[in-house]
Amino acid sequence: MSLEKEDFLERSKTFWNPAKTQDWQDMEVDLVIDRREGYCLYDMDGQRLIDLHLNGGTYNLGHRHPELVEVLNQATSHFDMGNHHFPSLARTALAEALAACTPGDLQYTAYGSGGGEAIDIAIKSARNAMQKRKIVSIIRAYHGHTGLAVKAGAERFSKLFLSEDREGEFVQIPFNDLNAMEDALKGRDVAAVLMETIPATYGFPMPDEGYLPTVKKLCERYDALYIADEVQTGLMRCGTLWGITKYDVEPDILVTGKGISGGIYPIACCVLNERSGQWLKQDGFGHISTMGGAELGCIVAMKVLEITQRPQVALMVRYISDFIRAGLDQIRDLYPDFFIGIRQHGVVMGLEFNHPQGAKPVMKHLYRNGVWAIFSTLDPRVLQFKPGILLSQAMCEEVLARVEVAIGAAREEVMGKGSRRGR
């Protein structure tokens, strides 16, 4: 590590976040991201890393995508964040674009500046529409850190701040458990079920066949709304613009964040239908956000939607997912006692390792081998493996070559040199 970096890390601990800075050093990931381009990150000491973390899909189209940079640059000669009180050209234009490309009868968009805020808007909208308070979500789900979103997620993030739910308004049930879902909804006192289409921070466990459509049916039966958190599964990562449409569910509310504004100007969107968006007619000033739906962000987001919906992109996702999967299958055959599972839907992947913390050494060795992918905070057996939707063929090959070496090294570290390899 350079002296410059050592000095910087000290400053990071002193002025920014001591524990987080230290945690990464403890995990032997001394990354300080400096330059970034396409799907590559460059550490301040110069190491190049292929980014398979993408900050949860924020950099779905790559870092500083040239068209997004261009559109933002040009937009700054005319727009700024805008004034949220007034009808806005850019907010309306993006809302129309979203109405055109989201499933079912979704029509209005209410804006936040980040995913958590958009989830808060979704919960508030559902409560207003249904005049009920309860929100059902999944144990170890992750929806963000704002007031309501944090309560709907794992306690790991709420307890610390004495912000966990104490009124029984946030019910959490196991994923893929339809009985538990029905039990939670039976009392007809639930405003909405809040679901990540594939729970990301939980390591992408995949919904069982029929699970999500049945949840939607239960919502209809027991008079609750269905909120699809598409922050990680949306924007073509599942091979369709929204993951939820692959499961044949038309949500009452769809939330998109992170990648929607290309990692270049923050906004998040809560897309509502007539029913869930009632408050917009009742009291349009009911939710206010100065930076929510900043007009520059809206313009970037429209370009993101346009790029993402180019017909070639869906084909590209198919090629990438087929190719990476074929390669991962071969790697799994090499280390079958350690690399035990692949969860996959499009370029949403979770690699499962045979150790309670198995993804951490894999992350470390990937880092040493020039690939950045992160373990799942809420299930550290699983590595989040998220290639970008425009990842080049050449880079996909390079990723696989590096992953094979890294998984081999991690396996040796965890299971010892003597243990036997497959094949």
Binding site: E67, A97, I299, M302, Q312, R318, S321, A326, H345
Partner: protein, 524 residues
Amino acid sequence: MMDPAVKNLIDIDRSAAAMGAKADILLEQARWAAQVFQRYDRATTLDIAEAVARVAHEKAAEYAERAVAETGFGVAAHKRLKNELSSLPLVDHYRDWDFVNPQLREREMIVEIPRPAGVIFALAPSTNPIATVYFKILSALMTRNAIIVSPHPAARAVSLDAINTLAAAAEAAGAPTAVIQAVEQPSLPLIDEFMRSAKTDVILATGGSAMVRAAYSSANPAIGVGPGNAPVFVDASADLGQAAKHIVESKSFDNSILCTNESVLIALAESEAALLREMKKAGAHICSLEETAALRRLLFHERGFNVETLGRDATWIAEQAGIKASPKTKILVAPIHLIGQDEPLSREKLCPVLGFYVARSKAQALTQARQLLRFGGTGHSAAIHARDQRTVLDFAQAVEVYRVVVNAPCSQGAAGFATNLAPSFTIGTGFFGSSSIGENIGPQHLVSWTKVAWNKDAGEMLDATALGHLNHPGPLPEAPSDGVPGKTRPRYQPPPAAASHSDDSLRDEIRRIIAEELRAALKG
């Protein structure tokens, strides 16, 4: 509810970033397709090429008519023939070439493994829009390459239809998706992006010299072809009647739009009168001095060839030049007395106007033919009509071209349709013509071979059975979408071998079509 609109508040469509992205996404898709295509075996590859060629053949007449309608030049019946010849017969011509399997050279202790170029960027001209599209696409398919075709703007609609139809046929036959793609809105800056991109493996450039030079300057490997300006020498030993017929047929074929057409006829004084009689008989109008002057004014402006006359028929041109010619006139013959800078009519003329130069001796004829090519069209084509084969060889030695067509129409002959040259609408003009390849371009130019060479003194024996070790696994298996019921998209299954490969009746049918077409081509 009002229908949502998608409005563009900030339009960056013309920015460099947008141009780059437009090229990049097609190139990247092509890269994927090429990588997957290289997993295919020979039988499947041939099946795909054949299936696409069949569709191309079926659409040949329709596209010929549409090309004439859209561009306003050429002859639909001749274009149809060119299109047809560039489909099934083309694939058949290369059927016995193996571009897929490793080759064993036992005595030399060398194994050669074919390596497709990868991603081809192809430009098509307005003159032969469909035949060129067919030819380049089929050449790419036979060699397991991916291809992006940029149609000529003057023939955009029909070319796009052809490219997209062939792409759909390829995918239906099991080719990787996007193995054939079209540049939907070709523009100079966009073409430049494709040509300069590091993701382009080779450029197949056919078109104007400027475009070809740009391809060569792009820092990517390019196979470009220069312009033609073919002399045709009619020796005293020639069968003058046959020669005249061939020349008129060739010159009127598709209204002389093939760059292989004869530009200037070089005759000998001793047979001038007899030859002109035969030319007239074959449908030529011999121009007077004044008529020649009028043609010169019509055909050549200060900036060069008048594209208004490109591919127009002889009677139209005669009318424009104020020449009274019979409505049956097939070509206009313009006597000229100079060859080179001071005589515009000694330039390439993509219309049925033929320069006519009389030499005093065979030696002078050869010198003038050589000079004509130095003036333009070097490296391209020349033709000779002679019974004396020594004269043929003397002529061939004199002219700086890479193909000399003997006793046949040059338009068709140099393009490999009235001779046994490789059938091609991309004529390599080699070192003479500032090009990398001097042959008629074919699929073989889209593959390089890895040569695995053993120690020649170690006395090892090559194991022929080891070659089978290099297998072709075919398409990638589809990755699962966990939790999505019945979503799996049916993927291509190679048909049972009997379905097409050993289908004798189909092969016979193809042979029959080829024979018919060749006869037609020879007849003009």
